[in-house]
Symmetry: C2
Subunit: 344 residues, 2 copies
């Protein structure tokens, strides 16, 4: 009889549970470690102000498909998704490191393209590339970016700061990045079956741009500073609105409702969802990769938010026992469900 | 006639030249960016003191072979190699982030083993795990670690600070990690050919330990602080002594000679090299992965160094025109040659 070794599959846990599980036993030892795992970024105390650190891996075949992602866009996006995490702390990104693992299938010229995109993001967001590592991989391309930012201790926004009665807000609009991916996937399939056919991307510039060249909402952070508004909690919307609302609820020990009719979805995103026979609100709730910000503000700050550009009030923080729910246009109440991703 | 697109292969450039090439066009924009690419770590000014950041990728099949690297050791080593970069700046590591890309071939239990090693390194070196990202890969395991440290502005040691007349020193001993790898590779081959045969690792504990569970020289940094010694330049010996001497020479605009007879090589490392028909000094010069420190001190500090534990004086900084050379035991002078790695 052979000895039984316990084996738990990765997808039995899922991404968030996996990280929680693996890092549950790491107590913080240094006084300067203000915030460890469990927010958009780690926070390190430096006396005068605080250093904010975020890191992400992008893997070919998992997060991007070289068939339709230009390398320059990929370099740009790899930086932006990390900057978005720093802004989501109400902090300013200042430095990045970029590490690559890549196979010999890539040429130096291809990497120059990738770095041209990194450079463009550095210029636009005024961050400095200060380090990195380059190594080979047996297959494909992997990009690891770490962003380092600065913020004032009493102005950082954690996921855990929301209180009952706070107003739930979002920047921009949702669902576009997900539908951009659907269009690119559809055209790739058509191309694979009929190599002569040119891709039909016309009229979808906005949606495809949301997928290939997302931007991080530095402008929202600037508006908050000007209005002397510190969000009580904030998170960037990388995995879909539902998942992010639930993150804030869990970290803050609260519930929340989202008014379906108030979630910002652009008309062309709405129409494209219908063309794909998808429910537009589902694309917004579960689509991901839009890199907008979800935040809560104190009720007395509601007038400040009303006058801000490109920010919508979409719901309210409620008691934990009421859970996280969607109030539909039809007057029904559904529990929010986080899809997140399940890559394993 | 088809259009010619220029294609330069990655191995036409090599690792160091590739990084230099790709990052040559990234001017630093933020005042807080004290040091960007080109040292063991980036340096960020925080007023009171400086934040030091280093990042590394470890790729399965390139940097480690799961056939003989236990996951716990791998987690430990992935942390240590980054801490070594922080110590090489004469700074104290405080936080780390650990990101993983892995295929579904790994179980949750396997990852627990890996994190047990990360945890052990965090405990031993008193650093906090504060972030990371976990994602899937199509093949194998990739670990990306970023270490964040603190140092006083006037006590950091850059690669660029060596002056003619400075004394060249190293901690510990070299060549062990490389020979440890040779032993593990040999036993793997024997096992593949004769699956019944048990590996012959007896008597090689030190050498195999150097490969599987290296340590970073925090104790050397402590000695420097106690002796009020600030190395004029410092680098960790990750790619072999020759490569690191040349990095200091290039960054400082100087030359250097190394006395072959003064380079520390343990008797059992020496003997194992001979058993493999390898030249022991070549293992020290080009072997890599020992994670000792190479440093220079002012001539007037030589007495401080003489009384330190486990530090050897191995040469001197000379004029750039004299280049980087090895003075052999036989009285000959050879130019040092950096092998570094060429993974592509």
């Amino acid at each position: 009889m052979s000895e039984q070794v316990k084996r738990t599959e990765l997808n039995d846990l899922g991404e968030f549970a996996l990280i929680d599980h693996l890092t549950r036993d790491f107590p913080l030892q240094n006084k300067s470690s203000v915030k460890g795992i469990g927010d958009d970024a780690a926070v390190i105390n430096n006396g005068n102000f605080q250093t904010v650190v975020s890191t992400d891996l992008l893997v070919e075949g998992i997060h991007f498909d070289m068939a339709y992602v230009p390398l320059k866009h990929l370099g740009y996006k790899a930086v932006v998704v990390n900057l978005s995490d720093i802004y989501a702390m109400n902090a300013q990104p200042k430095q990045i490191t970029v590490s690559l693992a890549l196979s010999s299938r890539f040429s130096v010229e291809a990497l120059e393209e990738l770095y041209a995109g990194v450079r463009q993001a550095c210029d636009y967001y005024k961050v400095d590339l200060v380090g990195g590592d380059t190594t080979s991989s047996l297959t494909g391309l992997l990009i690891s970016v770490t962003a380092i930012g600065q913020g004032e201790a009493d102005k950082l926004s954690y996921r855990s700061g929301a209180s009952v009665g706070d107003i739930l807000c979002m920047t921009g609009d949702l669902g576009g990045a997900y539908l951009g991916l659907q269009i690119l996937e559809r055209e790739k399939q058509i191309f694979l079956e009929h190599p002569g056919v040119q891709p039909e991307l016309k009229g979808h510039d906005y949606i495809i741009g949301r997928q290939l060249k997302p931007e991080a909402r530095y402008d929202a952070i600037e508006q908050f500073a000007k209005a002397e508004l510190v969000p009580t909690s904030m998170i960037d919307i990388s995995d879909g609105l539902a998942s992010e609302v639930m993150h804030i609820c869990k970290a803050s020990g609260v519930g929340a409702y989202v008014e379906e009719g108030h979630v910002m979805i652009k008309p062309e995103v709405f129409q494209t969802a219908l063309d794909f026979r998808l429910d537009p609100i589902t694309c917004a709730l579960s689509g991901g990769e839009d890199y907008e910000l979800l935040l809560t503000v104190k009720p007395e700050d509601i007038e400040k938010v009303r006058f801000m550009n490109d920010i919508a009030i979409i719901g309210e923080i409620v008691d934990a026992k009421d859970g996280a729910t969607l109030h539909t246009k039809g007057g029904n109440i559904h529990p929010l469900q986080a899809q997140g991703w399940k890559h394993f």
